[in-house]
């Protein structure tokens, strides 16, 4: 079972990211579970969401305390002590950042794939919403699920031009990461 924790700020589409990732997994025939740590937070406040992906039904409903992966939608969140809490030994993170992966790895001591997701989204979608780009990068790096599944998951929500642009964004984001670099972690 893969457990992912997504960190973001209210309004960044954190829950949508979790649902998209879980749905993408579902599209490949896996069992999935996604839910937010819903709070009373408003726009801008740090929020988290959880995703579990497995080959058998997932029954546990507790929060993900020890994720294998983190998806961090806002680099500022890395400075919060709770963001990296419980990341398993060998766990990795995908970070939306203008900085290089190496730079971030050096600072936080964890394997990091960084990409300017907001910038990519702004260029391609016209809105700086980083979630889809980050998920694409995550999938490209882990090879967990083909990015086609993410497109399919997105197709439940979007149609036409918006979907097309998202497909372009997925492609663009995937190209920024070394494909399959984290494959062994995802299949451990």
């Amino acid at each position: 079972m893969i457990e992912v924790r997504i960190h973001g700020r209210g309004g960044q589409g954190n829950v949508v990211a979790a649902y998209l990732l879980a749905t993408a997994a579902f599209e490949t025939g896996r069992h999935c579970q996604a839910f937010p740590s819903f709070g009373a937070e408003r726009r801008g406040a740090p929020v988290t969401a959880f995703v579990r992906i497995a080959d058998k039904p997932i029954k546990r409903r507790c929060q993900v305390a020890e994720p294998t992966f983190l998806v961090v939608q806002d680099p500022g969140l890395l400075h919060l002590p709770t963001t990296l809490d419980g990341l398993r030994p060998g766990g990795r993170m995908v970070v939306n950042s203008q900085r290089s992966s190496a730079d971030l790895e050096a600072e936080f001591g964890k394997p990091v794939i960084a990409l300017p997701a907001s910038q990519l989204a702004a260029e391609i979608l016209g809105k700086p919403v980083p979630n889809v780009a980050l998920l694409s990068a995550f999938l490209a790096a882990t090879g967990l699920i083909p990015t086609d599944a993410l497109v399919k998951a997105l197709s439940h929500r979007f149609k036409g031009e918006i979907l097309d642009r998202n497909v372009k964004l997925i492609d663009a984001a995937a190209k920024t990461v070394p494909a399959g670099a984290w494959r062994e972690v995802a299949h451990a």
């Binding site: 829950v15 979790a18 649902y19 879980a22 749905t23 579902f26 599209e27 069992h31 999935c32 579970q33 996604a34 839910f35 937010p36 819903f38 009373a40 039904p57 997932i58 029954k59 546990r60 409903r61 507790c62 929060q63 305390a65 998951a153």
Partner: protein, 388 residues
């Protein structure tokens, strides 16, 4: 068809499959997504219903009361304070013997205000005369919602489908959504013999004096206890129709020869199921997933507890000054057994506190403790010394 759906969305779809004629609701976290999804289905023309967006939960309940009395299949949903604001009406709906379904997205009650999950809200209206069915996961919630209409219309008793707020309502997971043909066959159009109709004008909601009140109440009580059979039967019929059952009144899972039992309701059951499989345990324990809290399956439960030395009842609500509500009821029921097990009662996960997989171990371990009640996941370090 298997789909990845958020719990609330799945419930909205399940409700739509049941073709309610009137839906009335007022938003409250964490019920909101259900109503939003229903509103979207109506807006998209996928659900033909009178959606009444009322000005309070009190009116939501009142609207469905009126709708049911007028012979329409009616549905509403709420949570927490909303359930309490409905409370007066809920007693009425049941007393008037009006069939309908309400989804309670279970949430704690204030004060202090807390929007997260526990069972305090549905427990607060446990004596209202509603059938209360709890769901361990969203698949059960979907199936139970559909069954609920059939149970309700067969018994003239309202059914509250209890599903944990956030933990189920806001969780996207894999769900098998039934086909509408299956549901249409399972749930024929609502025909209400006592519907308000100028062609047969009855008065509903009369004043009953001391000379008849006990008899009216007795009839209601009998209908509730008779409903135990209906709940089992409807679950069986649904299994026949859909291939899935929800466990009737309750399920007993785990090693048959276990001497320790754990009884719980709602989403913790789901976590416990996985824990039973995943966690190494020194002590064998059975898991009793109580689905029907009202009517309470007393006789069946006694039979199921035969041979147990200890039973740990997990409450998700608290009666201050008494302890666990479910625990107290189980203890009372099992007291009639020839050799009743010791009843241990714990509360956990109050106000949305996370119930981790390891909670199972702690719950099972509770069987070794003296019988009684405590809040299992209490963190004493956070207390004032005087409150210890």
């Amino acid at each position: 068809m298997l789909e990845a759906l958020e719990g609330s969305q799945a419930i909205a779809r399940a409700v739509a499959l049941c073709r309610p004629q009137v839906v009335a609701a007022y938003p409250i976290t964490p019920q909101t997504h259900i109503v939003e999804n229903i509103s979207k289905l109506v807006a998209d023309g996928r659900l033909d219903t009178q959606l009444v967006s009322v000005e309070s939960e009190f009116s939501a309940a009142s609207v469905v009361l009126g709708a049911a009395a007028a012979g329409s299949r009616a549905y509403t949903a709420s949570s927490s304070q909303g359930i309490l604001l409905m409370a007066e009406v809920l007693y009425n709906i049941a007393g008037l013997r009006l069939p309908m379904v309400l989804t309670c997205a279970n949430r704690a009650l204030g004060a202090p205000i807390n929007i997260w999950n526990d069972h305090q809200d549905s427990m607060a209206v446990r004596d209202s005369g509603w059938i209360q069915l709890h769901c361990a996961d969203n698949q059960e919630a979907v199936d139970t919602t559909i069954q609920a209409f059939r149970i309700s219309e067969a018994t003239d008793l309202p059914v509250m489908v209890c599903m944990d707020g956030f933990v189920l309502t806001h969780t996207l997971e894999t769900i098998e959504m039934p086909d509408h043909k299956v549901v249409d066959k399972f749930l024929p159009p609502f025909k209400f013999a006592r519907a308000l109709d100028p062609r047969n004008p009855i008065s509903l909601g009369t004043l009953v004096g001391p000379e008849y009140f006990s008899e009216i109440r007795h009839a209601q009580h009998k209908a509730m206890t008779d409903a135990l059979e209906t709940i089992v039967e409807v679950d069986r019929l649904w299994e026949k129709a859909s291939g899935r059952a929800c466990g009737g009144l309750f399920t007993v899972e785990g090693p048959a020869d276990a001497k320790v039992g754990v009884l719980a309701m709602g989403s913790v059951v789901s976590t416990f199921r996985e824990a039973m499989a995943e966690l190494p345990s020194r002590k064998k324990a059975k898991l009793i997933n109580l689905r029907a809290f009202r009517p309470f399956p007393a006789a069946a439960l006694m039979a199921a507890c035969e041979g147990l030395t200890d039973i740990v009842v997990v409450d998700r609500a608290l009666s201050p000054g008494w302890g666990g509500i479910l625990g107290g009821e189980v203890k009372a029921v099992l007291a009639d057994m020839k050799k009743p097990p010791r009843v241990h009662n714990v509360a956990l996960g109050l106000g949305g506190r996370d119930v981790p997989l390891e909670a199972w171990t702690a719950v099972v371990a509770e069987a070794k403790e003296p019988a009684g009640f405590r809040i299992l996941d209490l963190e004493p370090a956070k207390l004032e010394p005087s409150d210890l």
